[in-house]
Amino acid sequence: MIRPKLAIAMAAALMFLLAAVAITISYVTTPKSKQVKLEAVGIANTQAARTREHSASADASTDATPGVIYAASFTDLDGKSQSLGQWQKKLLVINFWATWCAPCKEEMPIFAKLQQNFVSSGVQFIGIAADSKLNVANFAQRSPVGYPLYPDESGAIAFSKRLGNRLGLLPHTVVVAPGGEVVYTKLGLVVEDDFVAILRQNLPK
C-alpha cells in the first residue's frame, strides 16, 4: 500500500513535469509575431517606411511585386476596366472588403475620411470587393466612400491572397508606395492613428 505522503509527492512531481512540458511547447509553438506585437513594431521602427506589418496569417511567400500589382485590373461600377498601373506615382491603399463582412464596413468610414484628408498629398484609396456588382452598387449608394470600389466576386480574394493574405480573410489592407513596393499590410481592422502615421511616412515626394 502506498503511503499518502508518497502518493502526493509523486502526483506533485508528475504535475511539475506536465507543467514544464506545457510551458516548453507553448514557447516553441508561439509565433514570434505573437510574442512581439506587430502593431508596435510597425510604427516604432525607424525604418517604418520600409516596414511590413504582416500578420501571422499572411504568407511569407507573397508575390506582391510591382509588376503583379500594377498589371492587375478590375472593372468599376460603370463597367470600365481600371488598371492599378494608373496609380504608380501615388501612395496606393488597396482595401479588400465585402458587403457581407461587418468589420470591413466598420472601418470604411475611416478610409473615406483619410481619402479626403490625403487626396492632395498623393494618396489614393481603392476598395476591391469580394462581392457582386449589385451589392457593391447598393452599398456605394447608401454609404459613399469617395474612392473607387471594384466588385470582383471571384478575383478579389485571389488577388488578396497573392498579396500575402494566406487564408483569404477580410478586411485586408495593403499600402503600396509609389513605384510598387508594399510598405504595409494589415489583416483585420486598422488602427486609425497608426494607419495615418504609415501614410505620412510614405507620402510621395
Partner: protein
C-alpha cells in the same frame, strides 16, 4: 504533519502551474488576435446525414470566437437525379447591420435542413452529391470568404458524412490578376464558390 502540509501546498501549486500552462497553450480557446485564426475548414466544421428520405440535415460545429451568418447558407445538388430545395435554418442571434438591416448569426453550432427531391421514381441511383456554401467571421474582426463543402450521401442511409474536397479546387478563375511573370488571365487562382 508539517511535511504533509508542505506536500499538499506543493501539489496545489503544481496544479495551478499546469492550468496556467494549458491556458498559455491556448487549447480550445477563442483567437485573441488575427494571428491565431483557424483555417475556415476548422473554424466551421460540417457533417451531414439523411434525416429522412426527403431531408438532409447539415450539422455545423462553430469554433469558439467564430460565428456564421443565417442568410449565407446555400446548397445545390450536383447529381441530376436529385433536386435540392431552400435551406431551413433556425432563428439566430439578431443584430442590426447598416447595409442589410436585421442580420442573424449562429455560435457554437447550428443544424440546418436541406429538402431533397428525387427526380424520376424508377431511378435506382441513391447517391447524391450536394455542394453546400456557408460563410462566417471571427470575433477578432475578420471574415472568411464563402466556404464550400462537397458532401456525398446515400439515400436511405442515416450515416453521417463529412465533406470531400470541392470539385473546383485548384481550378483557375477568370480574374484579371496576372502572374508575376506572365501578365495574362491564363494563370488565375481558383474561383471562389
Amino acid at each position: 504533519m508539517f511535511r504533509l502540509r508542505v506536500f499538499k501546498l506543493f501539489f496545489l501549486l503544481s496544479v495551478l502551474l499546469v492550468l496556467v500552462s494549458l491556458t498559455s497553450l491556448n487549447i480550445g480557446a477563442a483567437p485573441s488576435t488575427a494571428d491565431d485564426l483557424l483555417p475556415a475548414e476548422d473554424a466551421f466544421k460540417v457533417s451531414a446525414r439523411f434525416k429522412d428520405a426527403k431531408t438532409i440535415e447539415l450539422n455545423y460545429q462553430i469554433a469558439d470566437g467564430y460565428y456564421m451568418y443565417r442568410k449565407r447558407f446555400r446548397a445545390a445538388s450536383e447529381t441530376p437525379q436529385f433536386k435540392t430545395g431552400k435551406i431551413a435554418a433556425p432563428i439566430g442571434l439578431v443584430k442590426q447591420d447598416a447595409t442589410f438591416g436585421r442580420v442573424e448569426t449562429y455560435r457554437k453550432s447550428v443544424r440546418v435542413l436541406l429538402p431533397v427531391t428525387k427526380l424520376g421514381v424508377k431511378s435506382d441511383d441513391k447517391m447524391i452529391k450536394v455542394a453546400v456554401t456557408s460563410q462566417g467571421c471571427a470575433d477578432v474582426g475578420v471574415c472568411y470568404p464563402p466556404l464550400r463543402h462537397d458532401l456525398v450521401l446515400q439515400l436511405g442511409s442515416g450515416d453521417v458524412v463529412t465533406p470531400t474536397l470541392p470539385a473546383d479546387a485548384g481550378k483557375p478563375s477568370s480574374s484579371q490578376m496576372p502572374t508575376a511573370s506572365t501578365p495574362s488571365i491564363a494563370d488565375m487562382v481558383k474561383k471562389a464558390p
